[in-house]
Amino acid sequence: MSETWEPVIGLEIHVQLKTETKMFCRCRNGFGGGPNTQTCPVCLAFPGALPVPNRRAIEEAIKLGLALDCTIAARAVFHRKNYFYPDNPKAYQISQYDEPLCSNGRLAVPTADGDVTIGITRAHLEEDAAKNVHVAASGRLHGATATLVDFNRCGTPLIEIVTEPDIHDADTAKRFLQLLRQTVVELDLSDAELEKGSMRFDVNVSVRPAGSGELRTRTELKNMNSFNFAAKGIEREIARQIGIYEAGGEVQQETLHFVPGEEDSPPIRSKEEAQDYRYFPEPDLVPVHPPAALVERLRAEIGELPGARIGRIADTLSFYDADVLVTGGLDRLWSALVGAGADAKEAANVLSNQFVAAGVDPGTVNAAELAKLVAARAEIPRAAFDEALSKAGDAGFAAGPYLEQKLVADAGELDPVIERVIAASPGQAEQFRSGKEGLLGFFVGQVMKETGGKADPRIVNERVRAKLSGT
């Protein structure tokens, strides 16, 4: 390898707003109802229908823009983006073009080595397309015999966020996406759920010789519906492009469509047809001029943002723990636990492992009660602790009943059980004695099982070893 290569990555993210109504009509926005039951002349593009913008959507876009440190335009204009497709009934999408609502912002992504600041080119409002169902015997898009269209999603509000090509590795791309998602969720603009499609992103990837400022041909990665999948896909694409250049080839501009659920199979490649969207100012709409008082009110509604909290918490915990807590939406509960006396590291471990598995909304938890349990975790049977976590969000949740379920740590009580377990497996016991140390776990497990998880694992470990060794 004579050369080192620098990846250049830019992201384009679409976030679906959870307003009550659509972007340009007052049909309900959201799931529910059968196909085409949430439609009207506007979102079906019947002749004569006209768009009416949703005030809340505009406010939310401004709010996100402020959170991303963007300039809020004194005059924002909606444009028409013209193209024909079954899911695009007007044959134009109302979007924003050269006068977007928010531009020139940045998001600082904390890393173990300090913040990496990613430029936000723009954040603008637009409408979503309908949902196509391609009907065919084989179920493959290519062999489709018809397209069925449900216009319920058509016209629902989206914020599109475009970054500068400031990202140079897959991990930072992933962190950026996680942090942005958490920011959007905390601003209460969107569920931003990848599985539901309420957050979607495209990734542009190119590579260049390290140190050069050039921008080489990029490929666009579409349809990646998890952050880990994205990181993996980006890494694979970087490697592919480097391979091409090192073999003396040229990267082709193309789009790579990933198939959700088939993460290891190669993406479907398609040449980009030269598009000509013929953007022009939407003549059915007038410009948006956000009043200063509105912008200030929205600014005041923004609390401490996740990125800042990661930096703050990383002063106490490791960067890794801080990142997991904040992007997992757990750090406020963590702070409350620590405030109530729990050990910082202990609380972080509990939250990022067992608590996440319990699937409880952190906002509903009585932190003072949970803190007592975290402090006593070593003395409570695992099963009882897990049960406590699963109930932690219930009304009237109290630590008391769980704290009473002490671990059995008394050797006199445990020894008969241990002896019984060893006697039941003489073969394994012999193997252990002849050096197969790994079998210790087998016996400990058996004892834990016999005691219904109430035995203190530390004591069990000690006693099993002692008994097996005959001491």
Binding site: P53, N82, P283
Partner: protein, 463 residues
């Protein structure tokens, strides 16, 4: 006993209020007349009620009543909702006589571009009624409707009113809702009244004007005053040289307009010359970039997918191309292509972008003139009604019919046509243009002039 050719809406209302006639009799007086002018594309059964009948241009969406925009692509289309203006008419008890003929998607100046055949001029059936609202204009002067609504993008109310001897108003952009009206060029389209006299025109305007929550380009409108004054005292009237001496204005048209201007002076108006040099010079070019660009996008929804005509195709793209080939006529195709070209990559700045700047220049020129004048006047159409077929093969010649109506449309200004005399036995139209929201000024001046002119709106051959 009901003289459909002569009765004004105001007179009809008096007869209805005095119970001298019933709503059904009034409706029948129009509905039973033979439509040998092909003014209507669809005539309705009497919907009942006691209001005055009305005809609507077929670009205005009417729930359950066919709305074709003069296009084969919408031949079978039945709206499931009313346009705001149609709903306003209903709310005032106006009874729908039917839907009037129009150039396809309101693109034209003769109604010959209707997919369903041309309408005829009541003054001479061998001639066009103008366009695109030729059906509404022919219906009103042919005694098929007491009044009607049209739509005007670059002159489609004013010009047919001139050619048929009607009063027609193109209102200030933003005063009348476009919701439910089949769009041609969104930043220019305006619905407006066609009537037998100025007072009817003003009254009908008062019914349709006002802010509509469904059309964010509408605004609150000053209260409409029905004109009564017989004089023009204190009125400052500008006569733009370029609009009164443009190439192509027929001598007979010039003469009639000049006489009307002299009459205005004798009624007390202060008349002075003024100039709109570049508005006239560049208006048509500007219009035929802006309007087609918007139209290319507005007409893209006619794809055969959700309503209207669908032709066969193996995939979506082929289906759309076949549908649009079969369903759209030549004029929409031409304008869609011009507009697509003007917006396309590499051409936007030189064409559409440039036209938008010209539009600013036109607005500024008009604003300057209205610092000195309350309104300006000119011929509405350079010519009287021309023969059917005469210009059909030459789109560019057809476009020049709108030379004098276009500039004020580009500036969003209101314009009123009143008949001001005859040339070769055919009506000549006088165009009055005011600043934004000056409809009351136009009504006042139009009414006073109308009284003094004493033009007989009934076509000679029908008297």
């Amino acid at each position: 006993m009901i003289d459909a050719l002569r009765l004004t809406a105001e007179e009809a209302k008096k007869l209805l209020d005095a119970r001298e006639i019933s709503g059904a009799e009034l409706f029948a007086a129009y509905a039973e007349r033979d439509d040998d002018l092909h003014a209507f594309l669809y005539r309705c059964d009497d919907p009942g009620g006691d209001g005055i009948p009305i005809a609507l241009k077929d670009v205005i969406g009417t729930k359950g009543v066919p709305t074709t925009a003069g296009s084969k692509i919408l031949e079978s289309y039945l709206p499931v909702y009313d346009a705001t203006v149609a709903a306003n008419c209903k709310r005032h008890g106006l009874r729908l006589l039917g839907k009037t003929n129009t150039d396809e998607f309101a693109m034209g100046s003769s109604t010959e571009n209707s997919a369903f055949g041309p309408s005829r001029n009541p003054w001479d059936p061998a001639r066009v009624p103008g366009g695109s609202g030729g059906g509404s204009a022919a219906a009103v002067s042919g005694g098929l409707a007491p009044w009607a609504l049209g739509s005007d993008t670059g002159g489609s109310i004013k010009q047919p009113s001139a050619l048929c001897g009607n009063v027609g108003l193109r209102p200030t952009y933003g005063t009348v809702s476009r919701f439910g009206v089949v769009a041609f060029a969104s930043s220019l389209d305006q619905v407006g009244p066609v009537a037998k006299n100025v007072r009817d025109c003003a009254y009908l305007y008062s019914i349709i004007a006002g802010r509509d929550a469904n059309d964010t380009t509408t605004v609150e409108v000053p209260e409409v005053e029905l004109p009564t004054a017989q004089d023009l005292k204190g009125m400052r009237i500008g006569v733009p040289t370029e609009m009164n001496e443009a190439d192509g204005i027929e001598p007979g048209v010039s003469a009639a307009v000049r006489k009307a201007i002299e009459l205005a002076e004798s009624l007390g108006a202060e008349v002075g010359e003024c100039s709109l040099p570049r508005s006239v010079d560049y208006g048509v070019a500007c219009y035929y970039l802006v309007a087609p660009a918007e139209a290319s996008s507005n007409l893209a929804r006619y794809d055969g997918a959700r309503y209207g005509l669908r032709s066969d195709g193996d995939d979506f793209r082929e289906m759309v191309m076949a549908t649009r080939h079969d369903g759209l006529g030549d004029e929409p195709k031409r304008r869609i292509m011009i507009g697509t070209y003007a917006l396309s990559s590499g051409y936007y700045d030189a064409y559409y972008g440039k036209a938008q700047r010209v539009r600013t220049m036109i607005r500024r020129e008009h604003a300057e003139v209205f610092e000195k004048f309350d309104l300006i006047v000119s011929p509405t159409s350079p010519t009287v009604a021309f023969a059917i077929g005469e210009k059909a093969g030459n789109p560019l010649a057809m476009y020049l019919n709108d030379l004098l109506t276009i500039p004020s449309c580009m500036a969003g200004l209101p314009g009123l046509n009143i008949p001001c005399g005859l040339s070769e036995g055919l009506p000549v139209g006088l165009q009055l243009i005011g600043p934004q929201f000056a409809e009351n000024t136009l009504f006042r001046a139009g009414h006073a002039l109308e009284q003094a002119l004493g033009f007989d709106v009934v076509p000679e051959r029908l008297r």
